[in-house]
Amino acid sequence: MTEKNFIDFDTTPQPKNAATGDPCMASVVEFCSTWERAVKTVCLYPPTNPRPAEFRQKFFDALSKHLDANGRFVLVTTDKGFTYDGNPACERQNTEDNLAYILFRDGIREIAFEPGVDRDETDRFLTVMAEAFSAAGVAVDVANRLWEAGLSHIRHYTIDRVVNGTYINAASEAQLESRHRSFVINAKKTPGEADTGDESQLLQGPYGGKQGERFAYVLNVFGDVVGLSQAEQAEIASYAEPEPESAAEQLGLGILFEIIRGTGDALIQNDAINMTERQFEHAVRVDAWDMARWIMAGWQSSPSDISPNLQQRLQSAIISAGDPHHFERLTQYLNANPQMDLTEMKQFLESFGATALKPITAMLSTLEHRAARKMVCDVLATNGREGVDLIGAFVYDKRWYVVRNVAIVLGEIGGERVINYLRKSASHHDKRVRLGTLKALKKITSPDAGRIMLQFLKDSDRDLRLKALKSIGGDHDGHATSELQSLIDQPDLTDNDPEELRELLQAYARAGGAKAAGKLLALAKRSPWFGRRRWLPVRLAAIQALGWCRSGPVAAELGILGRHHNRQIAQAAQQALRFKSVPADQTSVPVQTNGDTREEGDT
């Protein structure tokens, strides 16, 4: 392997005659072109796209074809391109889009392609080249990566600042594995030593005595020093698998947290926390959100017996992690990855507790996907109890969808402190916000919430009025009943459409109960000479509503109406008698799950 088969190290192109028209040269030029296109395609398209696979195959085919026809060949790299046999095979005037330059930059001066190359090897080769070629690969040392790719038939020749000379990647895979194989094979072949000995003899100073026997005794204590048990062989086999990158990252972070917990030195602890903060910044910068989550968990998993100063320092790290820029970055990431599983992300955001409510709430304004917004709403609903004012301040936001989601979150949080904010959003100019507010208010069992809900009875939007009517249940302080009664007493009651009329009277029945029965009975029996037909819907709605406030007299009245000559009235009365009351919210208003949702007009 140490044979120096490469051509000399003068990289100056020395054109020879017959460069043009030479089929071998033409084939090399064609190969270089295919190579370049393959690298660009692998860089450009995601691995799931069929194009990279197609170009990987083309590269393999072009290489195999040339090797079959012409055998081993060497390309010399310069900063301006590749040369073959002294003739330019691929020339580039700049460093952009220049494969040769990428190799040249890292000290690779020649690259040799040898017969026997297979598709797997060319794939690994192209992957390394693509990594180096892409913008993200600025820090990739191609020479190192090619070595680590273990290419047996694509070899490179490097000059190196460190080694001050030339170097050929010498060890083949077989050579690397030979020591391993011999270890495993020898271990199987040799059963191991099992002589017995005397411990006192062993402990008699380093010299003197029969060394072999003393070792034999040690081996007896230790066990078979050479043979491998099945478990050991299985363990060795497991080392062949590469360790996942994330495991090593976690390992490093785990050590930092062990230093924070284990050492009693405040300066070292502080240094270690500084490192974790830097790692967190880096994780955010490169969208390594798993790593960010581990770090966050590490900060929070400190034992209870740590010093107050350390506890405070860790808390300050958590607070720093709640920097708004971090959440802007996270928002971009979530927008770019709509399909991702949000379970762990939710845990991550929840782990901030009340320290980052403001920036997390601000995410609602820029998140593009419904599932992500719902996740954020859930997080705010869980963490928001300590920061109602921080979240509530967003009801003044100019964007309707932010206000609507905040209103829903406030509804989930509940409590008296959210009422003022919901009062504000209840009068929002956008119907969707008011709808969200109504939903939020329904979840709050407080008289103030009920009073705000009554505002919706006079809302300009019919749907909202209907939903508000459907939301009204028992009325403890009489506000709802009197509000509804004032609506019923309006002279234009008969102008209402039948559905709204029906909901109004039913809400009145639910809120007023027995107290409402008189008014409803009066409406049910009302049959003026003029306008009988106009009043019929009111009568029917009142009869239906009476089902909510059945009592002895009401039932008797319904019984009479059940025999009314007007079949519609009779049927309505019979239905009302059969009606089994259920809570108001479950009668007709579909219950909205928590969280959001931009529905109509969402962008």
Binding site: N169, P242, T263
Partner: protein, 510 residues
């Protein structure tokens, strides 16, 4: 006009002194500092400029202190080191500008400057201007400089060309050296010392700038892996050399060599072997943050010293974490640094808040570190332990402290009688173990150096396996001997010509 003394054909005559100093000479640093400043100023200002004059005066003052001793001022640069009147200077904090100065010497292919006592007036100025104005992009800058020197007729200041590095020369194929074994050995030896240079460089970078060139370190680890795959025995032979001045660096190299060899036994792939090699090279990086006097302390450590020393695993992990973001490489290197003094039974240091499972690389590095530290007698215990005794102690603590599987792999690498062990054979002859035979750790290859009558001889012998020796009367190791008691230097027989003194000679005397 006096005859100009310019030597650019023959290698420089470097003063014979080969000693190194722990601290730079009191006189050397001001001179080099002033020379560096004046050289830089000469490149920017003309000789009448006050800034230049001021630097020039500082140089004159520093030189006057040297001349007061009656000696010339001889500055030599070779093998990446500066020598001042024969005394080697280390690139410590005070000489941190040495790397920049070294860059100037290298660019000009300059190997030395000698300023004789009280040089003729004007010589120093002209020399500085010539140095500053020489075109470093020229094909042969030193020849250009020498030409200028001749033209100027400088007599009080002379220059010499840069000599090739020792490692390069060792690796060079000398005419007549056609024996492939010799050539491979030369290359292995050159790599061994290059690795030490890289280790030293990153220690200095970490200490001074808290950064290092990871790519360069990775490349050297790749070379180690390649060489161990092909010529493991040769590199293992070099690990027996323990007499270097900067043993801390060689310790890291040795641990890396052992670790990679063990990793290969365990079937680790290229990427994991690289990570392991890097982790091994960095395992003691925390010592950079400790006082260097403590690291070099020749006496046994007292309680306070130990308290300091025990901080280095933690400092090492923090140092690595501070370099850049934690990726697979840094994460595993941190494990190597943090865990290499922890033991499988939870003993060792640093103190942990809860038991932790040691990483594979840490378990490997821990074992290799212990073996090298014991046999060197330079790191924690100041008296070297013979290799077989070190191995015996390790095996005795096998299950308790170490991973038994890794210990088996380690024994497969070194044998139970590691290279360098001095033994009396069953026939009475004295021999040095030269190669381990993985097939049978009890029966290594030895070089017989004295026959049964005590007469010096040199004869290689492969001992036969123990199973056969029981039945037949064949030669086996009967007793281990202490080289000091026997008055034998094993490096007269293994790693011959590669001892530290030899290296020093080749370093300083051309």
């Amino acid at each position: 006009m006096m005859r100009l003394v310019v030597s650019h054909v023959e290698p420089p005559a470097i003063p014979p002194a080969t000693s190194t100093s722990a601290e730079p000479s009191i006189l050397a640093l001001p001179v080099l500092k002033a020379l560096f400043a004046a050289w830089r100023a000469a490149g920017v200002y003309d000789e009448n400029n006050n800034a230049y004059k001021s630097r020039r005066q500082e140089l004159t003052a520093a030189l006057a202190a040297v001349f007061a001793t009656g000696a010339d001022c001889v500055i030599t640069y070779q093998n990446d080191y500066f020598f001042f009147n024969g005394q080697r200077l280390n690139y410590d904090r005070e000489f941190s500008f040495g790397r920049s100065l070294a860059g100037r010497f290298t660019n000009l292919q300059l190997g030395g400057i000698t300023i004789s006592v009280n040089p003729p007036p004007g010589d120093l100025d002209q020399a500085l201007l010539a140095l500053a104005s020489c075109d470093v992009r020229a094909e042969r800058p030193y020849e250009l400089l020498a030409e200028t020197w001749t033209k100027l007729g400088l007599t009080g200041v002379t220059i010499t060309p840069l000599a090739p590095k020792t490692s390069e020369r060792l690796a060079m194929e000398q005419p007549g050296d056609t024996d492939p074994i010799v050539l491979r050995k030369r290359r292995a030896h050159a790599l061994f010392h290059r690795t030490e240079s890289v280790v030293q460089e990153y220690w200095e970078h970490v200490r001074d700038r808290n950064s290092f060139d990871a790519s360069a370190t990775r490349r050297i680890v790749h070379q180690l892996i390649d060489t161990i795959a092909n010529d493991e025995e040769m590199l293992l032979e070099f690990t027996t050399l323990k007499e270097f001045d900067d043993y801390t660096y060689y310790h890291s190299v040795n641990v890396a060599i052992y670790s990679i060899a063990v990793g290969m036994r365990l079937g680790l792939g290229r990427v994991r072997l690289t990570q392991l090699g890097m982790a091994a090279l960095f395992h003691d990086i925390g010592k950079v943050k400790l006082p260097q006097e403590l690291i070099r302390k020749p006496e046994e450590f007292d309680e306070n010293d130990w308290a300091q020393i025990k901080r280095h695993p933690t400092l090492g992990a923090l140092t690595l974490a501070s370099m850049r973001h934690i990726d697979a490489q840094i994460g595993t290197a941190m494990a190597g640094a943090f865990e290499h003094h922890l033991r499988m039974d939870g003993s060792g240091y640093p103190t942990l808040s809860r038991p932790r499972e040691l990483h594979l690389y840490s378990r490997i590095i821990m074992l290799c570190d212990v073996f090298d530290a014991m046999t060197a007698g330079r790191v924690y215990q100041k008296v070297p332990t013979p290799p077989d005794e070190a191995m015996k102690r390790i095996v005795y603590k096998g299950r308790q402290w170490y991973d038994p599987l890794i210990l088996k792999a380690f024994i497969n690498v070194l044998g139970l009688f590691p290279v360098g062990t001095l033994a009396r054979l069953s026939d009475g002859a004295v021999a040095v173990v030269t190669h381990n035979v993985p097939d049978d750790p009890f029966a290594p290859e030895v070089l017989i150096i004295r026959d049964r009558d005590g007469n010096p001889i040199r004869s290689h012998l492969r001992l036969k396996a123990r199973e056969t020796t029981a039945a037949e009367e064949t030669i086996h190791i009967a007793e281990i001997l202490d080289p000091k008691v026997e008055g034998i230097n094993i490096h007269d027989y293994i790693a011959v010509n590669y001892r530290s003194e030899d290296r020093q000679d080749q370093t300083t005397i051309s």
